[in-house]
């Protein structure tokens, strides 16, 4: 299996294209990469750019409770898609001398279709994630920390492992870090590929060496997670905000959104699809999709028009051109019928058949269902079959009603985890906005029959 060719030249996403005045005060996640002009791979370069300063501050000036309080006050919310307040999650961890073994885990299993932000963070600045994990482990007093990295991110794995070695040698990892008496070990665990590993309880099962089936909640991982012990699972982008918050304070972090949103901080936004300049931008949370798409990504390629868009991954509801001026934050997008998700938008243009787009989305979910819950295991392949027949113009009367029912039978509360409900989000919104497109796929000969087999 060994490859006899040299590795293709390393290539990274375009980051912050067209942005000026990038610095630590405005771009906590990307300023080092953007000002350095290339990936920061050695510890000396990172240290010269405020690197490990937050760790030093936390270990010498702050108690774990102070770190937790600062993060809670900052209003940081989970950047993996769910938007749960990070400080609240941390505060559920048992503290004190009798709390026993605890674990800090980074969810770096980036696999939500349309999402490529964590790859960039890890490839361009591995030490930033390493420092973030050490500080976060300190806040919850974990003795062991893992980065659960998807197996396909080869460069990220190499760079993170090299950064961890350097951090060990510099005394930032291991026993008695910076003379504090506290220590932690950090390891990269590379997965073997399944979307469901991104679900935090499935991730824990996978990390334990089991099939990645989600666990029933409660108990939540903060109480009983990895090997039954209290565990925090945070996304790469989420934890990467932690050092800057400790250095500059919760009020500074809140101010980063510039009043555009009730949410705090910046967000890594991205654009893909047939636009002029796909890429990633770190921007105040709450900017509009219009600004992202037209000011930063250059708008659609010549001759194409935007028809609809997904605000944050395959598992978010479609939004329409009339939603372009909504603030891209958790609450605003939620109130308008979708989810911010990962915040990387995908644009569908007028050359695409919307039924084919939805069929592709559901094929992904059908293949990636772990098979644990019946509605998901059986409902998703059925959904794909219906969509394939509609796409081929061979749909039968009642098929659209069956699809409507799927969105309820696979909806929230029917399954252990959010995979099936997530799969239904693009389907239900496509049926809402583009029903005539689906109706065109129902074969005329059958249009008089009632094919609804559920009633």
């Amino acid at each position: 299996m060994s490859s006899n060719v040299t590795r293709p030249a390393f290539s990274c996403s375009e980051v912050n294209r067209g942005l000026t005045n990038i610095g630590p005060e405005t771009h906590p996640l990307t300023w080092r990469y953007s000002t350095h002009g290339q990936s920061i791979l050695d510890i000396k370069t990172y240290e010269a750019m405020e690197g490990y300063a937050a760790l030093r501050k936390a270990l010498t000036e702050m108690k774990p409770a102070d770190v937790q309080a600062e993060i809670k006050a900052s209003g940081l919310r989970g950047r993996g898609g769910a938007g749960f307040p990070t400080g609240v999650k941390w505060s559920l961890i048992p503290m004190g001398p009798d709390a026993g073994a605890k674990y800090m885990v980074c969810n770096a299993d980036e696999m939500e279709p349309g999402t490529f932000k964590d790859r960039m963070l890890m490839e361009t600045n591995p030490h930033q994630l390493v420092e973030s994990m050490i500080v976060s482990a300190y806040a919850i007093q974990a003795k062991r920390a893992y980065i659960f990295l998807r197996g396909e991110y080869i460069e990220a794995a190499e760079r993170l492992n090299a950064a961890i070695q350097e951090a060990h040698a510099a005394g930032y990892l291991g026993e008695n870090i910076l003379g504090s008496g506290w220590g932690v070990d950090l390891m990269v665990h590379t997965g073997a590929g399944r979307y469901i590993c991104g679900e935090e309880t499935a991730l824990i099962n996978s990390l334990e060496g089991r099939r990645a089936n989600p666990r029933s909640k409660p108990p939540f991982p903060q109480i009983a997670g990895l090997w039954g012990r209290p565990t925090i699972v945070n996304n790469v982008e989420t934890v990467s905000n932690v050092p800057a918050i400790l250095l500059r304070g919760a009020d500074w972090f809140k101010g980063l959104s510039q009043g555009l949103s009730g949410d705090a901080g910046t967000k890594l936004y991205g654009v893909s699809g047939r636009v002029k300049h796909p890429g990633l931008w770190e921007l105040p949370i709450g900017i509009t999709c219009r600004e992202l798409l037209y000011n930063h990504a250059g708008g659609m390629r010549e001759g194409l028009e935007m028809v609809t868009w997904l605000p944050g991954g395959a598992s978010t509801d479609f939004l329409m051109p009339e939603h372009l001026d909504l603030a891209m934050d958790y609450d605003t997008i939620m109130k308008n019928g979708s989810r911010l998700g990962t915040g990387l938008i995908m644009v569908v243009d007028n050359r695409h058949n919307i039924v084919s787009v939805v069929r592709n989305l559901e094929q992904f979910f059908a293949r990636e269902s772990c098979g644990w819950c019946t509605p998901c295991r059986d409902g998703l392949p059925w959904t794909v079959k219906l969509l394939q027949s509609i796409e081929a113009g061979q749909g039968q009367a009642g098929d659209l009603e069956t699809l409507d029912q799927m969105t309820r039978f696979l909806g929230p509360g029917k399954t252990f985890c959010a995979l099936a409900p997530g799969a239904m989000e693009p389907l239900q919104s496509a049926l809402k906005f583009f029903r005539p497109e689906f109706e065109k796929g129902i074969a005329a000969a059958d249009s008089q029959q009632s094919g609804n087999s559920f009633r």
Binding site: S3, N4, E110, T190, A192, G209, G273, D349, N360, E368
Partner: protein
């Protein structure tokens, strides 16, 4: 699809000493030996290209867990192969990001050049073709991987030169 090749029942697997050492070393990364199961399967796969049947039992013995648990893990994950694969494995992203940027044309051209369908191996055992989920580079789609190498912004006319790199 390739069939799983059944080895003689009970035939022992001669695990290479360095593979065994690497698996035993990875036990130290976790608080429970079971957690090293994916690492162990990857070590075996790196040697053979896939995980042979009789290696499952050997891994189970090292981790002190049932064979069926190791098999359960081996068959769950996309990048662990329980059937023989060619010398080079091509994984093509077929998720929505690459769909929007036109992966289907590239995928069809690739199948035509290789003369195989997804899930199959070329008769000269050179390439296996497998679809994969989003590879996290939707801004540079279509994307595929050959072994551990990732290629971005693919077009049909690049394919011949790309395949030539892998003998």
């Amino acid at each position: 699809m390739n069939k799983i090749i059944l080895t003689q029942r009970g035939a022992p697997y001669e695990m290479a000493a360095e593979d065994r050492a690497e698996i035993e070393h990875s036990l130290h990364h976790y608080d429970d030996p079971r957690a090293a199961s994916i690492d162990a399967l990857k070590v075996i796969q790196r040697r053979h290209g896939w995980v042979p049947n009789n290696a499952i039992r050997e891994i189970a013995l090292i981790l002190q867990i049932p064979d069926s648990d190791v098999e359960g893990v081996a068959t769950f994950y996309n990048r662990i192969y329980r059937s023989p694969v060619g010398r080079h494995v091509i994984t093509v992203c077929d998720s929505i990001g690459c769909f929007l940027t036109g992966f289907e044309e590239v995928y069809a051209a690739l199948q035509q050049r290789l003369g195989i369908k997804p899930g199959q191996t070329t008769s000269d055992n050179r390439f296996t073709l497998i679809p994969t989920c989003c590879l996290g580079a939707c801004d540079r789609g279509p994307v595929l991987m050959i072994n551990d190498d990732t290629y971005f912004n693919l077009t049909v006319d690049q394919l011949d030169a790309l395949l030539e790199k892998y003998a």
